[in-house]
């Protein structure tokens, strides 16, 4: 199960390089374009717009997520991603600040080389408010599409929270406290043993701190540019 030599030469714990472009779309209220290796996602946020859709609670802000795949029609996979991201964001955002409004987030997959859900969890959190980190773990981290399709017996998509939940970017960076980090999202594919699963979670947690570092740096730069 452990692939010592990965197709692109990475070691088991190595993540693909990140990059981001802030506000590439000038008509959207907020946008970001992130890439992790060959996976590229473009996110745009529109809102808050007045009124909520039928069935949503008018005392809170409602979040609408639209996922657009790179190719093909919108199917069940896309609906699952939309529901996951909506629930993740609902728990991250303070919904009572703008009651009876709808904020729409549109995610366009520009290039798909695996780990799109993780990247979009990351992207939408960066664009919406803050503090969402994603990770991916099998026995290797950050799988590419080829690895997902052929080589892995099973893999898990995992989303972890950032350790520091502060929105105040002007404050000095807080030291990471030793609080127990939990799990926001878990979607497993294939059968795995309980030990393997918790192994994935541990490795994912360890690596996610690197990503949250990157994110914090990006947003601090953003805030200082805006100031």
């Amino acid at each position: 199960m452990v692939e010592t030599g990965r197709a692109d030469g990475r070691n088991p714990n190595q993540l693909r390089p990140f990059s981001c472009t802030r506000n590439p779309l000038n008509r959207a209220h907020g946008s970001a374009r992130w890439s992790q290796g060959d996976t590229v996602v473009l996110a745009a946020v529109y809102g808050p717009k007045p009124g909520t859709r039928k069935g949503e609670n008018p005392e809170k802000a409602s979040i609408e997520v639209v996922w657009k795949p790179k190719t093909g029609q919108i199917g069940r996979q896309e609906k699952e991603y939309e529901m996951t991201l909506k629930r993740t964001l609902q728990n991250i955002c303070l919904l009572t600040v703008h009651p009876n409004t709808t904020t729409s987030i549109v995610l366009q997959v520009v290039d798909d080389d695996g780990s799109t859900l993780q990247l979009t969890s990351f992207v939408s959190a960066a664009v919406a408010i803050s503090c969402g980190v994603m990770e991916n773990g099998a026995v290797i981290l950050d799988t590419s599409k080829a690895e997902e399709k052929q080589q892995l017996k099973s893999f898990a998509d995992l989303v972890f929270p950032n350790s520091c939940k502060s929105v105040g970017l002007k404050e000095p960076k807080q030291k990471d406290e030793q609080i127990e980090r939990g799990l926001i999202t878990s979607i497993t594919h294939g059968v795995m043993s309980e030990d393997d699963y918790f192994n994935c979670i541990e490795r994912g947690l360890a690596a996610s701190s690197r990503i949250s570092e990157f994110m914090r740096n990006t947003m601090q730069k953003d805030a200082s540019e805006a100031a």
Binding site: R76, M83, T84, T88, N91, L183, M192
Partner: protein
């Protein structure tokens, strides 16, 4: 429920209030007061699932069917087999097409023009679990290698949506596959495969498959959904609990203690301890479900005449 006076909510409404009104106006507070006593509004313990029953062979025109009741949630799974030519990549395998339907009958929130948000998500999760669990050996669905194989249409209809839809849907699919009887077929002069029925048919035609066969099911997956609220884990939530508590995790285990699936779609952060607790609850539930499943098949086999 008798109208008993209840203490005022922290919102400041003093005085007595009917229980039902309190339940509608302050659903979260209502639930939390129960959880403080380690009980749920329907008097269940936190880790207790609702009474589950399964009825086999409820749709006589289908090749396999099962009706599962999980508390008030009712799911009907039915399987119809159709002969088709297998794809080139897998000439000796059949295939399964899974579709999960939430017709308007199941819930007041579902309307003809407003399909349920959960339906495609559950449909996809069901298909993934059924395929990855290894329960079905697709080679058993082959008739003539390269020429003909079975396509099993598994349709699951939610008849009443009262929470834990995935659990009930998976259990009904498993029961339907267990009940499935592959019909006898024969090859006609034009080379087409057709189904043959009755005792007369058995002797008249050259049969491709000897006797009406049952599928051998490998590792059967069993699922349990738990709602997570602060420190409490509520096993098998009903729709009222699901609407109040938005965070839930669905664990699917098979008979050899492997995790077939751990689905937690967003929601609040859950600690590792909570996930471990859910997994152990799922394993206990598996034991109960296995008993219910084998129990229902024993009773129906006694009634059947061959």
């Amino acid at each position: 429920m008798a109208a008993e006076p209840a203490a005022a909510a922290s919102g400041g409404i003093a005085g007595e209030m009917e229980v039902e009104a309190y339940r509608r106006l302050f659903p979260l507070a209502f639930l939390e007061r129960h959880l403080a006593e380690s009980v749920r509004p329907d008097a269940r313990r936190l880790s207790e699932a609702r009474p589950t029953t399964v009825g086999i062979g409820v749709v006589s025109s289908a090749h396999g069917s099962a009706l599962v009741r999980l508390g008030e949630t009712a799911m009907l799974a039915s399987i119809k087999l159709e002969v088709m030519s297998p794809p080139a990549e897998s000439p000796d395998e059949g295939s399964v097409a899974v579709e999960f339907h939430m017709p308007p009958i199941c819930s007041p929130l579902v309307r003809p023009g407003r399909p349920a948000v959960a339906a495609p998500v559950i449909s996809k999760a069901l298909e993934d679990v059924l395929v990855s669990s290894g329960m079905l050996n697709l080679k058993e669905l082959c008739l003539i290698s390269g020429k003909a194989s079975w396509l099993a249409y598994l349709d699951i209809y939610c008849l009443n949506a009262d929470g834990s839809l995935f659990d009930a849907a998976l259990f009904s699919s498993v029961a339907a596959f267990k009940h499935l009887e592959i019909p006898l077929v024969s090859v006609g002069d034009d080379g087409r495969v057709f189904t043959v029925g009755g005792i007369e048919g058995k002797t008249k035609f050259e049969l491709v498959n000897r006797e009406k066969r049952k599928l051998t099911l490998g590792n059967i997956p069993y699922s349990l959904t738990c709602a997570l609220h602060k420190d409490s884990v509520l096993a098998d939530p009903n729709s009222e609990e699901e609407s109040i508590i938005e965070t839930s995790v669905t664990i699917v285990v098979d008979s050899s203690d492997r995790l077939v699936s751990v689905q937690k779609l967003g929601g609040a952060v859950a600690s590792m301890g909570t996930i471990k607790e859910c997994i152990s609850l799922a394993k206990e539930r598996r034991r109960m479900l296995l008993e219910i499943l084998t129990g229902s098949f024993e009773t129906t086999e006694v009634d059947q005449t061959e």
